[in-house]
Symmetry: C2
Subunit: 577 residues, 2 copies
Amino acid sequence: MKQNVVIVGAVALGPKAACRFKRLSPEATVTMIDQSDLISYGGCGIPYFVSGDVSDAGQLQSTSFHMLRDAKFFKNAKDIDVLTHVRAVSINRSRKELHVRHVINGKEQTLPYDRLVLATGSRPKRLPIPGVDLDGVFTLSDLGGAVAIKEVVAGGKVEKAVIIGGGAIGLEMAEALADLWGIETSVVEIADQILPGIVSPVVARMGQHQMEENGIAIYLKEEVRRLEGDGRVERVVTNQRTLEANLVIMAVGVSPNADLARDAGLDVSSAGAIVVNEKMQTSDPDIFAGGDCVEIMDLVTGKPASFPSGSLANRQGRVIGTNLADGNAAFEGAVGTFVIKLFDISVASAGLSLQKARSHGFDALSVFVVQFDRAHFYPEKELVYLELVVEKGTGRVLGVHGLGGMNSGLFARVSAVAAVLRYRPTTADISNLELPYAPPFSSAMDVLNALGNTAENTLRGKNRVIDADQFADWWMKREKGDTLFLDCRGWGNAEEFVKKYPRDWKSIPQDELTARMAEVPRDKRLVLICNTGVRSYEAQITLDQMGIHDAYNLQGGVAAIKKWGLDLLPSDVSNNG
Amino acid sequence: MKQNVVIVGAVALGPKAACRFKRLSPEATVTMIDQSDLISYGGCGIPYFVSGDVSDAGQLQSTSFHMLRDAKFFKNAKDIDVLTHVRAVSINRSRKELHVRHVINGKEQTLPYDRLVLATGSRPKRLPIPGVDLDGVFTLSDLGGAVAIKEVVAGGKVEKAVIIGGGAIGLEMAEALADLWGIETSVVEIADQILPGIVSPVVARMGQHQMEENGIAIYLKEEVRRLEGDGRVERVVTNQRTLEANLVIMAVGVSPNADLARDAGLDVSSAGAIVVNEKMQTSDPDIFAGGDCVEIMDLVTGKPASFPSGSLANRQGRVIGTNLADGNAAFEGAVGTFVIKLFDISVASAGLSLQKARSHGFDALSVFVVQFDRAHFYPEKELVYLELVVEKGTGRVLGVHGLGGMNSGLFARVSAVAAVLRYRPTTADISNLELPYAPPFSSAMDVLNALGNTAENTLRGKNRVIDADQFADWWMKREKGDTLFLDCRGWGNAEEFVKKYPRDWKSIPQDELTARMAEVPRDKRLVLICNTGVRSYEAQITLDQMGIHDAYNLQGGVAAIKKWGLDLLPSDVSNNG
């Protein structure tokens, strides 16, 4: 039987499902509708289009071999009919008909289907505040919106921009505006960190430091109250300050577009996403859905969740395409992965952050390790900053995230953990995780293995740690005199610190600690410090042996606090350049 | 009870086991012996020391914080006694004593132990041919040997070098000699490809092409018969030719050092490696062993195997250290991973190659995909060439390997598959493998996902493929006139090929194929060609629909045959520089 498939939405999942299905069932007919004529584009490329890295919007809409994926392409190369500027209005499930309206002329039309695919995506949230309708205020809803922003920016009239929201899209857009266009850009985030829910406060602080070093102003814990201007936006007013702005981009998250499904009586979750099974079927087995408009299984928490991602949408699209052709493909869920470029560094994550793990009821802790990506004797290398989130008791690994240079292999480490998270690895599995080893690529005991080892030691109480946030707090309060900062490195590294902070900073190299134990005060809290946290851990073991337990290993050592933005020797910086 | 542990071998596993154990049991005594005084070094860094990337041997022997890991360091920083220039002679298991001999003065000594660790490593094989004892003939046995090679090379007397063996160490040494020192270097390999047993012939051919482009001569299927010279080596004589050489390095594999264990009555495998359980205990529970001298479980084949690797040795060392302290750590095995830098490209693998899979009795096939590492619209990107080995019937993934630039993310893709191989993934798991996605790092449908998709299509007979080897064979025989090379790209790409090979090369762009079906000959075998294999796959489906089945998709397209070294438009190359 020649099947007739109709697909609503032609950005990511729709085209993928259509093409896969047609390859398996070339005799079938497929009609794909979209409310725009900009279809089948890489939405995640929008910040790079705005920045100018991608010179025109057509590139986002082209194949790797430079053919524009427009309606004509789908007809000729794929034998798929595309109706552009057409919106779905309603579904008549008993008659198996989709009612649509042509956006431009208002004409209505009925499309019969054997099977229907809903790829309706998501829409950006808009804050319910005064001024959101002023000119110059944008959300990043689609490629059309991005083209509009770029026109404004390229017009040269934008001197100051405010991004509302310090999540992934907000930060990417901030970099895009500031880096190439030289626009004075601020980010306002209501949470107490950037990338909330994705990375830990410490890693977020490191990313923020990076953004600030590149001229982006970041305001945390601030709520935008209103946007002001005369027709065109001029000011952003928060609960703390007023920021001038010729351009405002709201990037405060997305909501699934599930109205069409809800109105047709399909199951929709309390969070407003379409409910689907592993085959990506809705509660009506002849209607499939996928992408940003559905909930899928979170393979770490075991609960359904939204993972808006062009990448997952593509993979779900292929599963739908296979099943439309009566195949038996399954999309079992996602662990949640993330990566972002922030100027010349990268931040990536897989699975749950500590905060998110706790919000899901896990009794969890996290550990933090800093190590070179490659063999430490290999000339080209970069530090990787990695945090592992583990469940106490079971030692189950719940997530990983971190920060590194653009060639630091951070992406590789997070990808490897992402790949195994669904198999419920323990810290021992990370300790023994097998990465290919050669000095130009990795370490014999890779940073990922060291992370597993550190997590195990910490879970077993062998490693009492503090992070850079805690260090900064104790450091600021050092006037109280209850804490001694004990430098476990060689004198050459410690000297300047001791000279600048003679009361608070003491040098005993780790290999001299046993012999010089008498110098260690027993009436103070000790913070043990080395370059990255390895020697300070050894020192802690030696102190434990001598009955000194009020000692805390600074995770990631001096490398971590520097990256965090705490510079204890600021004169050094100016000396070095 | 204060435990007394003796460790034989102080390069990789020995020091790791010792340090881990001492951190867990600071009160214990540990004595580590080694026949050299060069201990605790990164052996995999030797090629980079010889090349000059690592300036002196001490760097390979230093911590990341630049402390030399010599006997004094182990005493002061770790409270571990190291006896250098001491060889183990025999084990008296009933008395729990190790008999040792001081290499320099011949003195014998008995070391009592509660538990013993054998970290005796491996030794390089030496070919049983005349001339192996000539001056200037080396194996890479240890850091001492590397120092000797570098002295010869730095002396400026070496004009021509021959490497015997085209495995990892042979190729790394070839690059080291040729790149920095400008030595005319040849590699002689007895197999019909470089990296035999690790990657497929096609990927090997691409790596070979890279080496040859960088001036290394590679002779395959040649057996070295003898080395000639008067005291000092002057010539290498193979069954095909005579090569002049002032320096010869034999890199033909390693054998485990298991004599000490065998003589003590411990279980040794037929392959000559010490047998251990998951706790890394030998058949005597008080004697542990690990690293190059043991066999561990191959988690893909389910059979014990040797995986000589400094990286695995380190992880096994930690497991032994934990168990010495009455912990309960396990080393479950390895899937086998590999990565190498060849000038400015990288080659990596995890699990089994097709040849190896078949030799283990798997009914397997492999598929090959070429795709950009990052979003194709992102300006900075590189092609990744990946091959997936899968079992027919089950669709189980047995291995992955490939080739890419140094920043192509090849390492990340192979690492992700390496991480999951032990969980017996199927092609569907690779199709849906979740890598973090953002345009500067990956594609929405990543090359790894495309690889899983292609494998599934090929297993189901939807994609009839040929590789670059097969293409080259048919191309060479094109005079027979039985094959038409059908270019599915746009005319702009195809034009030059059609003009140069009017009889054999025909252009029908994939999106015009249905309309121009009458032009397709039905009496010839068709080879379908595009840039990377995507459009040619679509064309194959269209041809299938029209009843034309004698058509084969060139996997990886023109990108693959170019990388392979087959240049069909050589004038182009000179035009481009």
